[in-house]
């Protein structure tokens, strides 16, 4: 794919995301107006705008939310990176040892099916309340789906390529390096993309139930003290940042996949 058409693809992708965001904001306003929700609790887009920009306390509000956001991004980010790296390493290990996979994967499925919120109290019992506990929660949410996904990618090596490397005397490591890992790159990127919302959700749940910091903490305190302005502003901020991060990773995904010569 040429540079020009790649740029066009990226622009188009961002344009569609922007259009979808506008649609979401319009639906948000229309829904509250049509359902006749009181503006005291159902904040409209312009109320949130006022909270950040035109209110007397706007600068203070911005600082509050920005501080919370920094903590949430840290909470989600560390677990996200560690979870992905760990999933990749373990997937490589499993791809070389199917027996190990057969023992671990069903157990992982069972653990994964326990709802996250139910795991949170157990994790804070084990890892304590703080960054460690939140990171453990995020790792768990990111790690298991990514592991299944990357493993699937490592396994989908075409039989001819496998045979070619083996015929030229390549061992398991050569196979991994030359064929399996390049084949798995798209599924690694897909995992990196779909893990973003779950990492943020995991961090927010951890903050809500255990540390009380970050945007998760702000929302839970705001709902206790009826500060609905703060609650909406924090919710909109976390959703906006998540959409942005998702868009960035999916653009990277498109670019890399194009370079690898994959067509979608």
């Amino acid at each position: 794919m040429t540079a020009a058409s790649t740029a066009a693809t990226v622009l188009r992708r961002l344009g569609v995301t922007a259009a979808a965001l506008v649609l979401a904001v319009v639906l948000w306003a229309v829904f509250l107006e049509v359902a006749g929700i009181s503006p005291l609790i159902g904040k409209r887009p312009w109320d949130v705008f006022a909270f950040f920009v035109t209110d007397d306390t706007a600068a203070e509000n911005r600082r509050l939310i920005a501080d919370g956001l920094a903590v949430t991004v840290r909470d989600a980010g560390i677990g996200y990176l560690v979870g992905l790296v760990f999933a990749f390493l373990l997937a490589v290990l499993f791809s070389m040892s199917p027996a190990l996979e057969r023992i671990v994967m069903p157990t992982a499925m069972v653990l994964r099916s326990i709802p996250l919120i139910v795991l949170t109290p157990l994790i804070s019992l084990i890892f304590g309340i703080g960054l460690g506990g939140v990171t453990a929660i995020v790792i768990i949410v990111v790690f298991l789906p990514a592991l299944a996904n990357i493993l699937y990618g490592l396994r989908s090596v075409p039989a001819e390529q496998h045979d070619l490397v083996t015929a030229y005397g390549g061992n398991a490591f050569t196979l991994l390096r030359t064929v399996s890992i390049p084949t798995a790159v798209p599924s690694l990127l897909a995992s990196a993309r779909v893990s973003i919302p779950s990492a943020v959700t995991g961090a927010m749940i951890g903050e809500w139930l255990s540390t009380g910091e970050g945007l998760g903490g702000i929302i839970s305190r705001a709902s206790g003290s009826f500060s609905y302005d703060q609650m909406w502003a924090a919710a909109v901020t976390v959703a906006g940042v998540t959409v942005l991060a998702y868009a960035v990773v999916s653009v990277v995904d498109t670019l890399v996949t194009d370079r690898l010569g994959e067509t979608r």
Partner: protein, 260 residues
Amino acid sequence: MTATAFRRALGRPWIGGAVGIALLLLVWWLGTAGLGSTSSFPTPAAVVQSVFSDGWAFYGPNLSATISRAAQGYLWGNLAGLAVASLVLVVPRLEELVTQFGVISNCLPVTAVGPIIMVIFGGTASAIFLGALLVFFTTLVGAILGMKSAGRGAVELVAAYGGGRWTQIRKVKLIAALPAIVTALQVAVPGALLGAIVGEYLGGIDSGIGVALNAAQRQILPERVWALSIIAGLISLAGYALIGLLGRALTPWAPRKAAR
């Protein structure tokens, strides 16, 4: 992609799985046996014992309340997801916009939406809504993927024999999409349960797994916390298996993912 990978993992010989679970139980037992009865980490036996001593009088009302909320959320979320996906079936050009819209819905954290919905509509509605929200994206994406999986040849064949757009949709695209939709419906099950439990945690509800869990934590009953967690996981696995069985019975033409 995750869905198929998970299904393959599940389709593997049961022996490996049984070994894994047994190892997990063994580690749990060894790790907790020496801690004494006052610690936060009960042994598996203590957890089982607490389930029997609490009995159906405790679990019955709480489990059925949560399952009913999760089922309602599952129903509404899937209906919404399939409705929006069918827009794409009729107007394929909307695909990218609809997918991005789904991504946005997926980026709304339940802990941010939950309190807002609870303030507006109350606790029960919030539990159902959160379940629906978590189901919506999975089903939407699965259904759109499925609709794209119809072979061009089959679509063109119908067109060549004079079939209009509706005939193409009815005879080819829907049939081709159903297996992917079934997989999506299956993967969506844990989401509905998670949403319902988060909603219960937020308050405004007097029974359910979330409520019981919150209370057990406050009263410092670790056996009950562990038991409720494990039971919630088993419910979600059972739902996953049930939808899988139903789906396979309803779509006998779906390609079988044979275990290697």
